[in-house]
C-alpha cells in the first residue's frame, strides 16, 4: 500500500529539483561582476528610504485570522466530501447549516469593513 506514496516521493523530489536546478546552473555559468550600483536595494527604481523592518498595522492580523478560520472550515469539508456518496441529502442540509453559521461571521466582517484593504 505504501508504494502508492512512491509517486508523492517522486513528485516531491521533482518539485525540489525543478526550481533548484536552474539556480545551480545559472550560478555556475553566469559571469560575476558585482558593483556598488548592482548590489544596491531598490524598489520600482526608486531609492529605498528607512528600515525594511517596519511594524505592520494590527488590522492585517484580521486577514490572517479570517484565513485560519476558513481553513478550519475546509478541514471539516474534507471528510464530508469524501463520505458524501453514502450520506445523501441530509448531509447536504447539515453542511449547509454549518456553512451558513460561518457565513454570518463573514458577513459581519464585511459589514464592519474589516475586509477592506488599508
Amino acid at each position: 500500500m505504501l508504494s502508492t506514496y512512491a509517486f508523492i516521493g517522486i513528485f516531491t523530489v521533482a518539485a525540489i529539483t525543478f526550481p533548484l536546478l536552474p539556480l545551480i546552473i545559472s550560478a555556475i555559468i553566469r559571469p560575476n561582476r558585482p558593483s556598488e550600483v548592482k548590489l544596491s536595494t531598490y524598489e520600482c527604481g526608486l531609492e529605498a528610504i528607512g528600515e525594511i523592518w517596519v511594524q505592520f498595522k494590527v488590522q492585517y492580523y484580521l486577514y490572517a485570522l479570517a484565513f485560519v478560520i476558513f481553513d478550519i472550515e475546509t478541514v471539516f469539508l474534507y471528510p464530508w466530501a469524501v463520505a458524501y456518496g453514502q450520506l445523501g441529502l441530509f448531509a447536504l442540509i447539515e453542511m449547509g447549516i454549518f456553512l451558513m453559521i460561518l457565513t454570518v461571521g463573514l458577513v459581519y466582517a464585511w459589514k464592519k469593513g474589516a475586509l477592506e484593504w488599508i
Binding site: 523592518w53 511594524q55 505592520f56 488590522q59 484580521l62 485570522l65 485560519v68 471539516f76 469524501v82 463520505a83
Partner: protein, 227 residues
C-alpha cells in the same frame, strides 16, 4: 520491519528534528518561522508514513499553511524587531532544558520501555480484527484490500453521531472571527476617523490642529474625546 520504511522514517525524523533545532537556534526570527514550516511539513510526512492521510493533510493545511502565516503576521506586527540578531536564549535557559529532559526521561522513556512491545501486539490484533470483519463482509473470502477506518468513516461520524458538536464548531469559529474583529478593529476606528465638517470646525476653534490627507481630517488619539 521494512528497511525502506525505516530509512524513510529516519530521514523524516532528521528533517523534523533538524528543522526544530534550527527554529530555536537561528538568529533571524523570520527564518525561525520559516524553519517552523519545515518542521510542520516533516511531521505531516511522518503522519503520511503512518498512513494517516487525513491527519497529514490537516497538518499541511492548518499548521504549515495557516498557523505559520499567523506566526509570521504576529512577527510583522511586533514593535521591537530590528531584524538583525534576535537573542533566542533566556538567561535561565537551563531550567527549561532540565524540565524538558526530566519530562522526557520520566514520562516518555519509561512508557516506551514498558508499553513498546505491547504496542506492536495491539497493532497486529487490530489488523486481525479488521481482516476478520472484511472477510465476513465479503462473504467468507478474504478481500484483496482491507479497508481501514479513515476519512470516509470520519465524515460519516461527523454527519451522524457527532452532528451537534460539528454544528457547534461552526458557532465557535464564528465567535472567534467576530471576537477578533471586535478586539482588533476598534483600534483603527478610534485612531483614524474622517471628521464631519462641523466636527472639524469645532476642533479648529479649540485650537487642536490635526493632520490632513486626501480623505479628510484625521483625529489624533487624545483628541478623540474632544469631539
Amino acid at each position: 520491519m521494512n528497511y525502506v520504511v525505516l530509512t524513510i522514517f529516519f530521514l523524516l525524523s532528521a528533517l523534523t528534528l533538524g528543522s526544530g533545532i534550527m527554529v530555536v537556534t537561528v538568529k533571524n526570527i523570520i527564518h525561525a518561522a520559516l524553519w517552523l514550516i519545515s518542521t510542520f511539513v516533516g511531521v505531516a510526512a511522518l503522519y503520511m508514513l503512518m498512513e494517516a492521510e487525513f491527519l497529514a493533510i490537516v497538518q499541511v493545511l492548518v499548521y504549515a499553511g495557516a498557523v505559520s502565516i499567523l506566526v509570521l503576521f504576529a512577527i510583522m506586527l511586533t514593535r521591537q524587531i530590528t531584524g538583525t540578531g534576535t537573542r533566542q536564549l533566556h538567561s535561565r535557559w537551563w531550567v527549561a532544558m532540565l524540565t524538558a529532559a526530566a519530562l522526557f526521561g520520566g514520562v516518555i522513556v519509561p512508557t516506551v520501555w514498558q508499553q513498546g512491545s505491547s504496542w506492536d501486539k495491539t497493532a497486529s490484533d487490530a489488523q486481525a480484527i479488521l481482516v476478520q470483519q472484511a472477510t465476513e463482509a465479503n462473504g467468507g473470502t478474504r478481500p484483496e484490500i482491507i479497508p481501514v477506518a479513515g476519512t470516509e468513516e470520519l465524515g460519516a461520524a461527523l454527519m451522524g453521531e457527532y452532528l451537534l458538536p460539528f454544528e457547534v464548531v461552526s458557532l465557535l469559529l464564528t465567535a472567534a472571527l467576530i471576537g477578533a474583529i471586535l478586539i482588533a478593529f476598534e483600534e483603527r476606528t478610534r485612531r483614524r476617523r474622517v471628521l464631519t465638517l462641523a466636527e472639524e470646525l469645532a476642533l479648529r476653534k479649540r485650537g487642536i490642529v490635526e493632520p490632513h490627507d486626501e480623505e479628510g481630517a484625521v483625529v489624533p488619539v487624545d483628541a478623540e474625546q474632544a469631539v
